[in-house]
Amino acid sequence: MSPIEPGRIRSQASAGQAAPAAARPDAPGCGAPAARWADAEAARLRDRLAAATGAASVILMAAERDGTLRIIGAAGVPADLIVQRYRVPRDADAAVAAAVTGCRPVWLPDLDSARERYRLAVDRDEWRSRAWLPVRSGDRVVGLIGVFWERPCGFDAATRRAVARTAATAGRRLGERLASGADDGWDGWVNVQSVLDMLPVAAAVLSPLRDDAGEVVDYLIQAASPAGVDVAGRRGPEMIGLRVLTCYPSVRDSPVWTAYQQVLADARPREVGPFTYVEAVEGVPAETSYSVRVSRLGSGLLVSWVRHDERQRQEERVALAERLGNLGWFDRDLLADRTEWSDQVYRIYHRDPVAGPLSLEAIAELALPEDAPGFVAAVTALTGRGEPMNVGFRARVGGAVKYLRAYAEAVRDATGRTLRVYGMVQDLTAREVDRERLGHAQRELAEHRRNLEAEHRLAVELQQIILPVPDAPWDLPGLRVAIRYLPAEQLARIGGDWYHATALPDGQTLLAIGDVAGHGLPAAATMARLRHALAALTTTTTDPAELLRLLNRVLFDTDDGATATAVVACYDPVRQLLTWAQAGHPAPLLARGGEPVALSRPGGLLLGAIRETSYETATAPMSAGDVLLLYTDGLVERPGRTVEEGLERVAATITEAIRGAPDQPLARLIGGLHQANPGDDTCVLAARPLVAR
């Protein structure tokens, strides 16, 4: 038996428990959650009864222990009757009362005689015949099914049997649902839902489910905002009616569960996180990082959450960057014998993702005969001896020859056995053509100065695609981050600045900023390649120095003569420590106690100069109240002025922003910064640690 006894549950609910698929809401964004499943149930039943017996309408009611009845769902019922959807008193002379107290069906074939005999709960001239069927759970009547006919119905034995048989399934479901206590009365959550419907944040309202001893054993999701997406990808409306522990069993061991209990007890709002949520349920990403805010709302809880990795958005961006850079990633788990390809790899090989990745043998077979041995040798060296792979080869794909280059590194265990291989493959076929085309476009644009605006528009669009700049600060593990991109005034000079800010799988936050030499479309293309490569490389390492070493190699190998500078930093919210490395890039500014200081730079060469070079890392403690600023040189550099003068100005802006809004300086800070050199584009990334809870 369920440990939850319906009568004890003081969470007033209008939604059911973990719902059968059919009870899912079918009209998103409107109406009450109760109406959604119960109306759907009523509609289904009405259709069946209409087919079997010619019935016109169905009403579902919940019977409560205090002796009242409440309409919870209806089909074929006029709106004015629906409006008064609850609290039908269980009068002694009501037909419905007879069905409940007698625990037997009440058949009323004729309206006039029914009116004489009973006070009718739902009276309507059109309904000539009606029947009330009790819904039981054990020996208690927990609900009623009302069936209405517009043509008089004689209710002979065959009809009665048909009605009872048809309604049996719906009755069982309704009974289970009502007995579970998931739906025991008050409709207040309906109003909560209509508020949540308008909120742009991820939020849900939970009501506690208690056992006989009054202990909270689980929570029921009563309402959820449409903007909410849970760890399994369910959207807000789909979460309504689910139980927290059924869907997210790991919550019990997370700090969130404790917060729920505390907030329920003392009504003081709490913030939890960022914490890493590890889910044991299949089909759910194993680890996700969240911050959660919990407040008390009536007898329940209002919970809002931020998912730090914004994985989906990130994936979309990576996909775009992949397409622009003609760069795809792959990941092979040798133990599980499982290979994963990104969409771009499928595109490169003209392969339907449904068909899955090609085997290594199949890839080797597609290579041109003169290139195949080199490819096979590189694969053997990689998987056998763990040697990094960087091999160019031609492959016959879709009747044409493609120029491909594959980079990969192996993860090995202590015994030297290769466990996993991560890599990227780039389609270089179009590159020469692209370069020619881009160069041609640029020459033309240079000739037609009036068209500068067109390139500006194009470059800005490209920039927006590659580098969407969020217009408000957002949260990552341990940090709030804000970005500002200041495009160059001179239109064709837009292009090379980029940033990257993302949650890492190990609970840290990665911040990066960079500047590709040059401007216009070629620089934008290089930027896309670097940014994508960085996103892909963070799956293999989170060491900033190692990331720069690999980025350097990617740039050196793929782009003859292109150079770029960058800072890559990794923030550990637990140790409150920033670890960073730089490649020929200006040092970040860190304001501690309102005093901005340029961090002392560890050694590092700009990217793309030589193939093999290593980078040093430096660390800096960073905790609540501090502000970090990563920037590109357009912020401080200007012909005829020293960099020091530019930095002084930026430092003053930081100090002013912190003084003006000590708790929320980021918006003011990035809003107050302007590039020193309007001829250069500038990217600024500001971050401040969140208060640890």
């Binding site: 000079r493 090379g496 500047d515 590709v516 030499a517 040059g518 401007h519 003859d560 003569g561 292109a562 150079t563 500078t565 490649a583 020929g584 890039h585 200006p586 040092a587 500014l589 005093e595 901005p596 200081v597 340029a598 961090l599 002392s600 730079r601 050694g603 590092g604 060469l605 700009l606 793309g608 100069a609 030589i610 040189d633 012909p639 960099v643 020091e644 930095l647 002084e648 930026v650 430092a651 100090t655 250069d680």
Partner: protein, 126 residues
């Protein structure tokens, strides 16, 4: 406007590339192609880039120096960058290229040289 680049063979196998004025986005790619063509033709044993007359060097100019370095490496030729002003030297130091190219720091008394310029980062604040 004068040519921003003059390339001369020194007779000892050294190719001298002298740059003039502002080397930036506007002229760097043209200079780069010129240098590339001459280097391919002359196949020098050493390339020396003289920055004495360079007043400003942006990231495109930096990329030009890197390209020349790669051309030299491809030929097995020695590569050097000489005579930067202190401003240009500062840019080479920031990018780490001063070390890679073995560029000497401008001597004291050179234009715009500042004592203490070997700090790894400029001071900020106050």
């Amino acid at each position: 406007m004068d040519e921003p680049v003059r390339i001369s063979e020194q007779g000892d196998g050294t190719l001298e590339v002298a740059l003039f004025g502002d080397i930036d986005f506007a002229n760097a790619s043209t200079i780069r192609e010129t240098v590339r063509a001459v280097v391919a033709e002359a196949a020098p044993t050493a390339i020396r880039v003289d920055l004495a007359a360079v007043t400003f060097l942006d990231s495109s100019g930096i990329a030009l120096l890197v390209t020349a370095h790669r051309l030299a490496a491809g030929l097995g030729a020695r590569y050097s960058v000489v005579n930067p002003t202190s401003t240009v030297y500062e840019h080479l130091r920031l990018t780490g290229l001063a070390g890679l190219f073995g560029v000497a720091r401008p001597t004291a008394g050179g234009p715009r040289d500042v004592p203490g310029a070997d700090r790894s980062s400029p001071p900020v604040g106050r």
